[in-house]
């Protein structure tokens, strides 16, 4: 295990609103739910560029980025984010996306390297459990 990163330290999550969509009810609800599930949550605020999201992820040393996109621009934005994360050497950051995401796009998002897709109506507990599981698996890999 890497020094300074005990497997039981709290999971750090950046909940971000990339793009122009200003509907933040869902993002804030998820942020509160993750905080209640024991995570440290940073909320980005609205109208973030992908570059701003990646910088915040870097500065805040997060394990997870949760994007909320209700405008239909999820494919464009997620593709950009994946590339920017790779360029910033943040390949290991887990990315989950929520919002208005049609079923067929969920598969495309996963193909782009998005770890979890949670369309509107998703269960808050299921989101938290997925994140805890994904982070634990990653930490175990790093430790191993």
């Amino acid at each position: 295990m890497a020094p300074g990163s005990p497997a039981d330290r709290p999971v750090r999550v950046l909940v971000a609103k990339p793009g122009l969509d200003g509907h933040d009810k869902g993002a804030k609800v998820v942020a509160r739910a993750l905080r209640d599930a024991g995570m440290e949550v940073i909320y980005s605020g609205l109208h973030q560029t992908v570059e701003q999201v990646v910088n915040a992820a870097l500065q805040e040393a997060v394990d997870v980025i949760g994007l909320s996109i209700l405008s239909g621009a999820h494919l464009t934005l997620c593709q950009k984010l994946r590339r920017a994360l790779d360029a910033a050497d943040l390949r290991d950051v887990i990315v989950v996306v929520g919002g208005v995401i049609p079923g067929k796009d969920a598969e495309r998002l996963k193909a782009l390297g998005i770890d979890g897709v949670f369309p509107g109506g998703a269960d808050l507990q299921a989101i938290a459990e997925f994140i805890h599981g994904a982070v634990a698996a990653r930490r175990a890999r790093e430790a191993g």
Binding site: L20, K28, V41, T76, V100, G121, D123
Partner: protein, 537 residues
């Protein structure tokens, strides 16, 4: 039931915090005064409706929210809905347009024409309203930060159709304060944004008397987690902030108040919504008369579009939303709305299909024409329950307004994120109540169908080439206009933005010269500065 055994009844408390008794009777209306609390329809305090005959004279206006892709695509759908009986338009703009960005702005990538129609210049507005007689069809522009620019374009199109601005009927949403709370399409800082709204109100009061420059939206605040009482209370605080700005310019309340319209939500408990609308009408009349000293009846009319209901609809079993929508429409009609628009059953998934839009329109038409909702005014008046609830809702609305006062007023409450925080916490509590089954959503957390399949929804196929086409048209506009004239207009705008003059005439000059939305917005961003969001959970 055995004699003497105490009846066990479940507790009912409405979202606004009002407990509901199992029954109401004459004892609940002691001290109730018809003349003071209700008045006849069309009479102060307008609880029963702002017109004496209401729907008996004319059913509510049906104005489905619509717009997608390019102006040409939207125009086709507009004309289709008009051909099947829709009598007004309600235009949705794409996010770049809502944020004042041209379609070729790097920030617009992936968003052009997605959630609404793309508009870059007057050329697009001309195309959007091609073969639609603006003298007969009133249009609502759902636009906020760049509302003054879109309004200017609309007036310019009307003028090109031969309609002088004094005869143009329509509405712009133009309510920026709620954008900071709920919908997020803000651009400039708060004070200059309020000034621009004041400019549009003043301009319309003087030159476009049939145009409603503002539709103050409790709607989106409710969608963000506000209770029905807070929805009205916060909207009234916002409306009064705009009114105060215009009064400070020397306009009178009777010049300004008749320009206001409202946009309210219709999901939730049916009786609570009906009482909400009746209480809201009464309270607005009282505020205008007693707080501002209005004398003209029109100043005291709370005119509204009541519609939507998005947060009440569900992703699961979307067809159930058709049924919910019908009941929401009933609440709106029993509440006395002037105009109605319903969310479509597929909106949790997609830009509504033509079929879904038509079903929403049919819901309203059936209600108005087959079910007797247009026969008599305010049919629930005098009901022990409804009148009691109406009075309780008025008090709850006043309570929400008093809380804003304690926060230091609406502008401060918004700038510091106090309202945002309050409604966001409530939204989270609502989700937890849903999860716990304390709030029921049929098919979602009760009577769940274990065999449910993927719903049969026709998804709007977004064409990525569409953005290229829009950008090509924008470049064509840039090539063919007179740049010197555009430059002169933009410079004039910059000068005026620094001063105190009303900006509308200069904006109209700029759009007529085909200055683009992005160019005009850039001038204002420079001069006014951008809003800094209070980011806090």
């Amino acid at each position: 039931m055995a004699e003497g055994k105490k009846e066990q009844v479940r507790e009912v408390v409405l979202e606004s915090g009002i407990p509901v008794k199992p029954r109401y009777g004459p004892e609940d209306l002691q001290g109730f005064d018809y003349a003071c609390d209700l008045g006849d329809p069309g009479e102060y305090p307008y609880t029963r409706g702002i017109h004496p005959l209401m729907y008996r004279y004319r059913p509510w206006t049906m104005r489905q929210y619509l717009g997608f892709g390019t102006p040409r695509e939207s125009n086709e759908r507009f004309r289709y809905l008009i051909s099947i009986g829709q009598n007004a338009l309600n235009v949705a703009f794409d996010l770049p347009s809502q944020m004042g960005l041209d379609s070729d702005d790097p920030l617009a990538e992936g968003e052009v024409g997605r959630v609404g129609m793309a508009v870059d210049s007057l050329r697009d507005m001309e195309e959007a309203f091609d073969r639609i007689p603006l003298g007969e069809i009133s249009t609502s522009l759902t636009i906020n930060a760049p509302a003054a620019v879109m309004m200017a374009m609309y007036l310019a199109v009307a003028e090109k159709q031969g309609l002088p601005r004094a005869r143009v009927a329509g509405t712009a949403q133009n309510d920026i304060l709620k954008e900071y709370i709920g919908r997020g399409a803000w651009v400039y800082d708060i004070d200059p944004s309020i000034r621009m709204i004041g400019d549009t109100i003043e301009f319309c009061a003087r030159e476009a008397p049939r145009y409603n420059p503002v539709s103050v939206c409790g709607y989106h605040i409710r969608e963000s987690g506000a209770t029905p009482a807070q929805e009205i209370g916060y909207a009234y605080c916002i409306a009064m902030a705009y009114i105060d700005d215009t009064l400070a310019r020397g306009l009178t309340i009777d010049e300004v108040a008749p320009r206001f319209t409202f946009n309210f939500n219709i999901y939730g408990n049916l009786w609570e919504q009906v009482a909400k609308f009746r209480a809201a009408r009464r309270l607005w009349a009282r505020l205008m008369r007693d707080h501002y000293g209005a004398r003209e009846p029109r100043s005291m009319w709370m005119r509204m579009i009541a519609g939507g209901g998005g947060s009440g609809l569900t992703i699961r079993e979307p067809e159930n939303n058709l049924i919910r929508g019908a009941y929401y429409a009933l609440a709106s009609a029993l509440g006395g709305a002037q105009t109605m628009a319903l969310c479509c059953y597929d909106e949790g998934y997609t830009i509504p299909s033509a079929k879904a839009s038509k079903l929403s329109l049919r819901t309203m038409q059936i209600l108005a024409e087959e079910m007797g909702l247009s026969d008599t005014v305010d049919p629930l008046a005098g009901s022990y329950y409804i009148e009691t609830l109406t009075s309780q809702m008025e008090e709850k609305i006043r309570e929400a307004m008093r809380e804003v006062e304690r926060w230091g007023g609406i502008v401060k409450a918004v700038a510091e994120g106090l309202i945002q925080r309050k409604v966001s916490i409530q939204a989270y509590q609502e989700q937890r109540a849903l999860k716990a089954g304390q709030v029921v959503k049929v098919g979602v957390n009760k009577y769940v169908d274990p065999t449910e399949q993927e719903p049969d929804i026709l998804l709007y196929e977004f064409d990525p080439k569409l953005a290229e086409g829009q950008i090509a048209r924008l470049n064509e506009v840039r090539r063919t206009r007179h740049w010197e004239e555009v430059r002169r207009c933009l410079e004039g705008l910059r000068q005026q933005a620094r001063g105190q003059q009303n900006l509308m005439p200069a904006i109209i000059d700029a759009v007529r010269a085909y200055a683009t939305l992005g160019e005009i917005t850039a001038v204002f961003k420079d001069t006014f500065g951008e809003f800094r969001e209070p980011v806090a959970l």
